[in-house]
Amino acid sequence: MEILKKIAETLYDGDERAMPGLVQEAIDAGCDAQEVLDAMMAGMAIVGDEFSRDELYIPEVLCSCHAMMEGSKILKPLLTDQDSKSLGTVILGSVQGDMHDIGKNLVGMMLEGRGLKVIDIGIDVPAEKFVEAAIEHNADIVACSILLTTTMPETPKVVKAFVDAGIRDKVKIMIGGAPITQDFCDRMGCDMFAKDAGGAAALAVKLCEK
């Protein structure tokens, strides 16, 4: 349908002002709310890919995230009754000692944009809090943002906290941030390393679709 294509393009362009009108137009024309949401998510998937390839930049990704939020506001009341189930639940936070939130917030918006439920537990989060939140929300993934070489040693603490709580096999641990590498992820016994927000979303979607 033409309007759905236009919604995907508008999401990609990050035109937050045009988004609510287009979404309403699609609904009025008889589109299913889920179909409209899928169209927005299709646009978001392209944004994530291009951001990963350095073809789009952070301010442009933020525009798309805002467009997503504006469109979702119209859809939300229409989705509640039927198929608003999320793909999976992600606990997201910056590890203890780390006050950085730009990357974390971007990851959060990307994950939401791809249909995951995100519980953002903020910055400077002690390992136990990740565990508590994972249990409370029955999370599929715990995503830890680590921006400093000095906060990298928090990683094994988070892993250990999940082992100690006896739920290590129930949750996948994803890490990311400037000093993090795949090698570090493997050595620490984490499950996934994401290079950037688009990568984090793609990995999370892949895992939850299984």
């Binding site: 952070i58 301010p59 971007l106 400093l148 990298m152």
Partner: protein
């Protein structure tokens, strides 16, 4: 402009490798190059795992002091690491840094009693980086008042108002100049510094954004910066901006820097 040379930092992969291998020649060369380019302080930041940091930082201090006479800027997020290596510095320099976080002020400020050491102060605290100028001024006042107890005057403090990235905050520069105005209204003699490259985080062509920011920030009153002094384009922007603002009589510093090859990318330094 007070230039704090940023090229000896363990977050830079080649420097990280040199620290691990204890490659003194590599570090010494970076220290000499930055001195020649006009650095006022040479920042040393080990950025290793916490248990290795004191030893690595002491080694960096020794290597840099053997190579140049330029004062050090001792840089660690952990005040106890700075406290531990402080005694190895042969002359007063700069400590990087205090903030409203934890007991940083209590650990580091006593080190500055009866000497001419200077210190970087960040306007953040245990709640993170405040968004509003009032809280930043408040944190500054707390730091300056604590410093005064040890006889440290505001002109020995380099205040860093914690610049946010333009990519995620459209008003980051505009807020930065508001911060400078408000802080200088209380403390006219305090230095204003910035790591500055954070401004361009998430944008393409970062070097151009950084240089343009530098020109605007100098006009707004920033007089200290953590940069790479061997970046001739950045240095040219600094010298040209000072000349344009009338702070460089008859453009003498600009001309000298050009002749010395500090700001002319086409000229090889001997």
């Amino acid at each position: 402009m007070i230039i704090i040379g940023e090229k000896i930092n363990g977050t830079i992969p080649v420097v990280k490798a040199a620290i691990e291998k204890r490659d003194a020649d590599f570090i010494a060369e970076r220290a000499i190059k930055q001195t020649e380019a006009g650095a006022d302080f040479i920042d040393v930041c080990a950025s290793t795992a916490p248990e290795l940091e004191i030893e690595a930082l002491k080694w960096l201090i020794d290597v840099v002091q053997d190579a140049t006479e330029t004062p050090l800027c001792i840089d660690s997020p952990n005040p106890r690491v700075i406290e531990a290596v402080f005694k190895y510095a042969k002359q007063p320099g700069l400590l990087n840094s205090i903030s409203g976080e934890g007991d940083k002020c209590e650990v580091l400020l006593p080190l500055l009693t009866s000497n001419s050491w200077e210190i970087v102060g960040l306007t953040c605290d245990d709640h993170g980086i405040p968004r509003d100028v009032e809280t930043k001024v408040k944190i500054t006042e707390i730091m300056v008042e604590k410093a005064a107890k040890y006889g440290i005057t505001p002109d020995r403090i380099h205040l860093d108002p914690c610049l946010l990235a333009l990519a995620t905050d459209n008003e980051s520069y505009l807020n930065f100049i508001k911060d400078i105005k408000a802080i200088r209204a209380v403390y006219p003699d305090i230095h204003i510094t910035s790591g500055l490259s954070n401004i361009s985080f998430g944008l393409p062509g970062r070097a151009q954004v950084n240089r343009t920011f530098m020109a605007l920030a100098i006009q707004a009153g920033m007089d200290s910066a953590v940069i790479d002094p061997t970046n001739k384009d950045m240095m040219a922007t600094i010298f040209a901006t000072y000349a344009l603002l009338g702070h460089d009589r008859n453009c003498r510093s600009y001309s000298k820097a050009f002749r010395a090859g500090i700001i002319d990318p086409n000229r090889k330094k001997s």
